[in-house]
């Protein structure tokens, strides 16, 4: 006979421990390991041994110590108090940990994920006798100054409300509602739900992508847009600006909630996010950015198994807010570190490696991760979305490595960062030739309705100019630019204006850091108007040399700084300037 709830450690190898003999442990079950009660998870069972990965350092652990089963898989606690917080990979609040154990992360810490003492002002929206289903909203709590938290019935429950407390102040453990289930049992519902991190939260149905996630970044919104509920990958070698891109989206995108997962990245980066986001205000709500943000920080020196879990923890939090009817965007920085955690654990388990030492299940784990994104109709009928923006750190900046390649199969938006652009300090260093967005056609109706009829056509025209530039550059590299005919010189010049004046965007400039759609449209129109006019001149036989004497090209490049975001009327001046340039060249050379 074996004990269902206990095992004895037999062997230890880094974050992996073995228990000999048959145990009653379940696959994926959360366990406490050893005297310090380190958190672990069961990952393999055979008749001889159980294998457990431990989410904390195993230094000092001894064979012979006990392992206790908890009976449940690794879960996160879902209730008010998640936002404006920073957690580690298994939802332990880092702020609380710092208070109790000092500047270092000590082991075996057991704190509640969320504050159980705090009283929340609660407004109930159900009444006695009402029938409730999984997902039905029971109460509303003002969680932060920007977000109203909606307390819901857990997805697997339902019944008739037999009693409900009056409006007032409650903790997350207080009973709010008692329901009678269909089988006659009663259940007491609090604000708190638990949900296993590896299982997607259910929803009623999935909508096709139809609305863009507006980020205020020109190269994204105009050139390679991502839909709400979409998936995007940002691959790039070190120093190309993955983290910067993620920060910009986290700051300025029009999502309601941001979940920022720092997975195996730098400690100072998380500190920076904490500091910066607390100081910045959300342009839409006017409140602090942290009021809509939750951070998951599992820095590179924190235990590797928790790094693997951090991605799922973040996803589950995101799905929970989606169920309330919010649009959530997840920044996962970086999914390569997560894949490496998989590789590291797989190596410790002595599994047969596939490509580059990564386990063969890398592709299926990646697809399962990205498929949890989507625009959904929730169980309670509201509409919400989870968009995933995953950074990828390819080894040696080489996009042919397995994580980038497999990610490419499962995302529909690819923002490839380029080393040579980063070296020339062209930021964002997203390369227009390697990047793509499959959402472009899905979103075309939205753009033509809400931004402008010609928007997509203009965008395509700019793309085609950039493509022409790249093939012309092949020639220029061989024989120099001087021998090109003037119409091709014009293409090069306009492409330069597009690159410097439109694609390049300064994240540190107060106006340029986030640009509204309307300004993006006007900038694009202005550049193309210049092209149209200049083309006419060239067709009449004017040499490019003469056109270049006019400062108009430089003036258009500088318009991103010169036109404030709230003075879009100034674009009419630019139209006039271009006309003046046309007339001037005509008058002097006709």
């Amino acid at each position: 006979m074996f004990d269902l709830t206990k095992g004895i450690i037999y062997g230890i190898n880094g974050p992996v421990i073995y228990i000999q003999g048959k145990t009653g442990f379940k696959m994926g079950e959360m366990v406490y390991v050893g005297k310090q009660r380190l958190v672990g998870e069961v990952i393999r069972l055979t008749s001889e041994r159980a294998t457990i990965q431990v989410y904390e350092e195993t230094t000092g652990l001894k064979p012979g110590e006990e392992v206790y089963a908890t009976g449940a898989p690794i879960c996160v606690t879902l209730a008010p108090g998640i936002l404006n917080q920073i957690f580690d990979g298994i939802e332990r609040p880092l702020g609380e940990i710092a208070k109790s154990s000092g500047i270092y992360m000590s082991r075996g810490i057991r704190t509640d994920a969320l504050d159980k003492e705090r009283l929340w002002k609660t407004h109930l929206v159900v009444s006695e006798g009402q029938r409730v289903y999984g997902g039905t909203i029971l109460a509303e709590v003002v969680e932060t100054e920007a977000i109203v938290h909606k307390v819901m019935v857990p997805p697997d429950m339902g019944g008739i409300v037999v009693s409900a407390v009056p409006d007032g102040e409650y903790t997350i453990c207080d009973r709010l509602v008692t329901i009678q289930k269909d089988n006659g049992e009663t259940a007491e519902l609090t604000m708190t739900q638990k949900w296993p991190i590896r299982i997607p939260r259910p929803s009623a149905k999935r909508y096709p992508a139809s609305k863009p996630l507006i980020t205020g970044q020109r190269i994204l919104d105009t050139m390679f847009p991502i839909a709400k509920g979409g998936t995007a990958a940002v691959p790039g070698g070190f120093g190309t600006g993955k983290t910067m891109t993620q920060h910009q989206i986290a700051k300025w995108s029009d999502a309601d909630i941001i979940i920022y997962i720092g997975c195996g990245e730098r400690g100072n980066e998380m500190t920076q996010v904490l500091e910066e986001f607390s100081e910045l205000t959300d342009p839409r709500s006017g409140k602090s950015l942290m009021a809509r943000t939750a951070l998951i920080a599992n820095t590179s020196n924190m235990p590797v198994a928790a790094r693997e879990a951090s991605i799922y923890t973040g996803l589950t939090l995101a799905e929970y807010y989606r169920d309330m009817g919010y649009h959530v965007a997840i920044m996962a920085d970086s999914t390569s570190r997560w894949a490496e955690a998989l590789r590291e654990l797989s190596g410790r388990l002595e599994e047969m490696p596939a490509e580059e030492g990564f386990p063969a299940y890398l592709a299926s784990r990646l697809s399962a991760f990205y498929e949890r994104a989507g625009m959904m109709q929730n169980l309670n009928g509201t509409e919400g979305s989870v968009s995933i923006i995953g950074a990828v750190s390819p080894q040696g900046g080489d996009f042919s490595e397995p994580v980038t390649q497999n990610t490419k199969r499962f995302v529909r938006c690819f923002w490839g960062l380029d080393k040579s652009l980063a070296y020339a300090r062209h930021f964002p260093a997203i390369h227009w030739l390697t990047s793509y967005s499959e959402y472009l056609s899905d979103l075309a109706p939205w753009y033509s309705t809400y931004v402008g009829k010609n928007f997509i056509d203009n965008r395509n025209q700019m793309m085609s100019l950039l493509n022409q530039e790249s093939s012309l550059m092949e020639i220029v590299k061989l024989i120099g630019a001087d021998v090109l005919p003037d119409d091709q010189k014009l293409v090069l010049e306009i492409a330069r204006v597009i690159r410097l004046g439109f694609l390049q965007q300064n994240a540190f400039h107060p106006d340029d850091t986030c640009v509204p759609m309307e300004k993006q449209k006007k900038m694009m129109e202005t550049i193309l108007y210049l092209y149209k006019k200049a083309k006419v001149l060239i067709a009449m036989g004017m040499p490019m040399r003469i056109l270049k004497q006019n400062k108009i090209f430089e003036k258009i490049i500088a318009m991103k700084y010169d036109v404030p975001n709230d003075r879009l009327d100034l674009f009419e001046e630019y139209q006039k300037d271009i006309d003046a340039f046309y007339d001037d060249v005509m008058a002097r050379n006709a």
Partner: protein, 458 residues
Amino acid sequence: MAIEYLGLSEVNGPLIALEGVQDASYDEIVEISIDNGREKKIGRIVECYADRAVIQVFQGTENISLMNTHTKLTGHPMEVALSEEMLGRTFNGIGIPIDGLGPVPSTLKRDVNGQPLNPVSREYPRNCICTGISAIDGLTTLIRGQKLPIFSGNGLPHDRLAAQIVKQASLGDGDEEAFGIVFAAMGVKYDVADFFRRTFEESGVSDHVAMFLNLANDPVVERLITPKVALTVAEYLAFEKGMHILVILTDMTSFAEAMREVSSSKGEIPSRKGYPGYLYSELATIYERAGIVKGREGSVTQIPILTMPNDDITHPIPDLTGYITEGQIVLDRSLHGQSVYPPISVLPSLSRLMKDGIGSGYTREDHQDLANQLFSCYAKVGDARALASVIGEDELSDLDKIYLKFGQEFESRFVGQGESENRSMSDTLNIGWELLRMLPREELDRVNTKILDKYYEL
């Protein structure tokens, strides 16, 4: 009462296996006595089963036989004795004094593995350190609490550069705060260690230096612990004694190579180029020990040096390092060939913390714009040179010719400087503007118009 175990069941490279052990814990340190105490070694338990432990011996397994050893468990992980007296002393790779001045008086011992800093407790580093080297101060500014590695190759002057940084580093305003240097050498040549020792002596800082030396002929496994010992000392001095500590780790490539050696004798599944899958995590536990902590005085700044095998920046060691550290300073062989010192290859070099530690209030208002402009112009120099090598310099447009000239001047006057030349921040920035004035104003598209008016038109 500690039990001693007689004999071993297996010796394999740096690893030994012990059967029938009781009460061993993972990562515990064991003492091994050979031939009745004629030789003593220490080791660390790297795998641990109910009755069997695999031990990694720091000093190598020479002289160990299956019969002649007594192994004793110490009951604790690797620890190092800490004291302020460690400055001015020299230690071997596992923290034992080798300068003949006897043991360090100390009552405090600490686990060398350290613990991860809670991100909430960190303070974002903002104070820039002036190194007096234009290419670093101007373009890849070093910030206190940063980890900024030097990516170098064999035969390049990375040691001289590191020594110059040590000699010249200051907070810029004659700050008199307590500072110290922790120097850890892993598998470096005797000459290199000696060069650093002489440099520290010449510049009069040797009283503030704690040196940890694991030389090229010292046991390989020992160097796996050297950076951890050094950083434990650095953290103690910084966060408990309020000192500003600069840690120089050289050479991280030897460290990674030692990991590969041990990993393969453990029979682990290799990932890239035979390095173990946990190379990233292991490097991260070292690099992430730099930083500043809220409410504490001191700081730990790291300058790890690594030699890129075959000058390949995509090799796993520089690659993974670059993903953890906050930027990198890359040295370039062709610049070195042209006798440019320091041969810093500006374009791939980067300091991630620079943007928040420069500009008005820190260095000078034009710093960021100037740096961006220099980067961007120098990138164009590369294009012009590529073109010139195809069509010849004479055929270039006038603008491209100016760029070529700019490139040359930039390399010789801005990047190049004397080994003892200590340039102030404003000198560095002024040289930058002098160079930019070679170019027509329209070409300067990264600089704010106001700043251009002020600095370009002098």
